[in-house]
Point group: C2
């Protein structure tokens, strides 16, 4: 028996070339494109609409935690960086530096920086804002009454990247960065873990993207941090994507910036600070978690349009009645609530064939697509397509007919079911690709060998070496193109022996290829 | 009879030193502060909260007009600027230029740009994005079916300013910039004027700030534009503030970027483009329109908190009952709707004396402040202060007692009345300060002479000179520190003679000092 052949909407499949498939989804879903400016992308309406949804929901959760939004300067004077030695070492290789404040003609029809307008102190375009926010905190905090100080900003940052990939690694990207100051270690650590948990639940509930929250190994810490935590998601090619981080910074940044408070006993005391962020990288994670060979599938919680209605226009007298019916349907759906908000529904009246327009929305990943013809309008019917159940077993597109009343009444449930189904599908796939049977370095090499096209992650116990011993482990893994992702929170202590040191294993880690 | 003396919350009055008063409002209302980075400010939670409200409401209106948000690169290659000669001339004097992408140690504990990491082509930090968005439009537009193309971005921009003033003129500022492409002049002009009207109604309805919408004179056009329109608001010192602009760019930017479409007859045709923007400058306008000698007064539509409840805590057993009463009151108020949205109410439980906290919120300009003591709680009463009616005639703070039920039932009306009152007060003041009796250059000089401390605007008819004749007028006005603000839309043709050229007056203009 031959399988019915499905004519997928993309030219490249995930199986044939995952990297090319990723680029094709971004292009065909009209999410972003190369800008012509090195390492910077243009985020197009569909991609930016998803980011707006992420921003809106995350911002609500940030505010609920009592954190207040501010805005800090784009430029950071060089001297601010020089204060924090370890931090600058981590970033110094990849920063955009402003040296002039004016252009002049080069006499040949072009422009050059004006040598008369050289800055006395060059300015760095912020790669992250610990230094400049630390300086503000030092001004704002006097006493224990001012603590905790909880700030966040939504901003663009720049890290000069040699090899870029849209959404995953671009020289400029958009993010939020939370920065907080606390009276002591315990309060700062609680905030670090609160932000981590906020990211974990956001990824699971909103992005429908399962993640493992845990602590990064020492060698992967944010430059200058005492501890770095991350959420790690598994992409469909088995690689790990670090999708958000939260750092406990100890007192080093406070010392560099002079963030001190007078405690209840009148003593000047250093604050303990934290920082935490997620970025447009999350959108890359959504694509590689939920995309299929027909394009993107957007979880309803972040879909700019959750339902698109396509009238099958024929440019004849019947179109007026058809459009009136579709408008009634649109208005009824817009009155429904799903996932805690009003349903976002678009009536797409643009000229063009409905099937062509259908495939445009399929590739963009709209959760529910309705095609409405004159007969549907006359019979008070709708014909609905769930993006996550696109194909029937016989290879045909899986439209389902329903009465308008039934569809409208069930629309919220359908959207919530799409959200759940995407999460369940991604979780099942991720769980199936976690390998627990590897306990030696040779075993690791085998598991990640060329033949195993899309290996997942190896979960194993290790002895948590530090310093030079850790560097030796990292080097061994690097030779296999592997990294340690994190140590999951609250994992029970593993038994057995560390495959790297031969010492007793004390802690669980995930080892994986990564983005 | 002596006036009762009022002890105002600020140390400087508007009358004594308007510029110092402006700085004091910003500091005391905790809106923003100098950052230590030249020309860049830190926007603090109260200032940023107002910006978030402006963004949210403006963004809704932009989307309603069918404009889609995108995000374009922060950096613009020099060569993009060289394409548009007139445009770059207007901006070339004030741009931040990135020349290096890495730092190295200077061997003395400091950092310097790495000479090995000089960019082949320097990058300009965007002062505005016509050039880089034009390049994208050239890629996106093929046929008449792609038009109009309506895009907008919310972004930071940098214009190197020698003299900065918070919110009004900073090297980095936040704004939205709309960029649209159209098939012909008429469609582009309609969009230019739609944006202008959107800004006019937003200023009046949302900011409660009366403005005059009109066309700027030729010498004040955006570099490269065919026509520039603005909204102009009168500050309390009589100076004009340009609070938003909309430009019809003709085909010059399209030609430079190659934005062409195939028309219905198959001909390659240049697009007509527009751009329009408002920025954090609007917040400066709100301060200088509504502030008084006790601080800011925020119009309810953009107030982060519209109502603040201050429990008069005494750290005794009665506080639990008082807090429970305040929480009930908060919850009831949060259920009300005013100005089309749920009421934003804060219960301020921070430690500290209620009167001290009261003056903090007075200076921030919260529209309604409630102080609730144990007796109010026991008697189901509230004691309410309208920020725009702060003082009684006898010099006492104007608290008004009401039953809780009455206050809650009337809260939406009260907020809407504050919004209307602020607008009416500002409009009456503005109208009273428009002088129509001046028709000669000497008359202008007299009106704006030193003795007249806060002159307003002079409305007069002129002959609309162009080229060298206009330059001569501009020079005469400049000698009096005056500028032409705009020609109001739809104004009837004035009679009489142009005071500058002696020719018949054909058009009305406003002449004013300005920010």
């Amino acid at each position: 028996m031959t399988q019915p052949s499905i004519k997928h909407a993309l030219s490249v499949t995930r199986e044939s070339d995952f990297a090319a498939w990723y680029q094709e989804v971004i292009a065909e879903a009209e999410m972003a494109e190369e800008s012509g400016v090195r390492g910077c992308m243009v985020i197009k309406p569909w991609g930016y609409g998803i980011w707006e949804r992420i921003q809106q929901i995350m911002d609500g959760r940030i505010k609920e935690a009592g954190v207040q939004n501010c805005y800090f300067p784009l430029f950071i004077p060089l001297s601010y960086f020089a204060k924090e030695a370890e931090h600058v070492e981590g970033f110094a290789k990849e920063m955009a530096v402003v040296t002039h404040h004016r252009l002049v003609s080069d006499g040949k029809g072009g422009l050059v920086p004006d040598p008369e307008a050289r800055l006395e102190e060059p300015l760095v375009v912020r790669p992250t804002s610990e230094t400049v926010i630390g300086a503000a905190m030092a001004r704002w905090i006097q006493s224990w009454r001012d603590l905790p100080l909880l700030t966040n900003q939504w901003a663009n940052v720049v890290r000069w990247e040699m090899r870029t990939r849209m959404f995953l690694r671009t020289s400029e990207f958009l993010w939020q960065e939370g920065h907080t100051a606390h009276a002591d270690r315990s309060d700062a650590m609680a905030e670090t873990l609160r932000a981590l948990e906020m990211y974990r639940s956001f990824s699971e509930d909103v992005l429908a993207m399962p993640v493992i929250a845990g602590e990064k190994p020492e060698n992967e810490r944010f430059p200058g941090a005492v501890a770095t935590y991350s959420i790690e998601a598994m992409m469909q090619d088995g690689k790990a994507l670090q999708a958000g981080t939260s750092h406990y910074l100890g007192t080093a940044f406070a010392e560099a910036a002079g963030i001190r408070y007078q405690d209840r006993e009148g003593q000047q005391t250093l604050c303990h600070t934290t920082s935490w962020g997620v970025s447009t990288r999350m959108i890359g994670g959504v694509i590689m978690t939920h995309g299929d060979d027909d394009g993107l599938r957007v979880p309803p919680a972040i879909a700019p349009h959750q339902i698109v209605i396509l009238p099958m226009l024929r440019e004849d007298d019947g179109d007026a009645a058809l459009l009136a019916y579709c408008e009634t349907l649109r208005a009824e759906l817009a009155q429904q609530s799903a996932l805690g908000e009003r349903v976002r529904v678009l009536l797409d009246k643009r000229p063009g064939k409905a099937t062509q327009k259908r495939w445009g929305w399929v590739k963009k990943g709209v959760p529910l697509i309705l095609e409405i013809g004159g007969r549907d309008a006359a019979g008070e019917q709708v014909s609905a397509l769930r993006r996550d159940r696109l194909w029937r077993a016989d290879g045909k597109v899986n439209f389902v007919g329903q009465s308008r009343g039934d569809f409208v009444a069930g629309a919220a449930d359908a959207l919530e079911d799409v959200q759940r189904s995407l999460h369940a599908e991604a979780t099942a796939r991720r769980d199936a690709q976690i390998e627990r049977g590897v306990s030696t370095l040779d075993g690791l090499a085998d598991y990640f060998a060329e033949g195993n096209r899309y290996p997942g992650w190896v979960e194993l116990g290790w002895s948590r070496p530090t310093g030079a011993a850790l560097e030796a482990v990292v080097a061994k893994l690097k030779a296999l193109k592997l990294t340690i992702r994190n140590t999951p929170m609250d994992a029970p202590a593993p038994g057995g022996t560390c495959p790297f040191t031969g010492e007793p294993a004390v802690e669980t880690i995930y080892v994986a290829r990564s983005y």
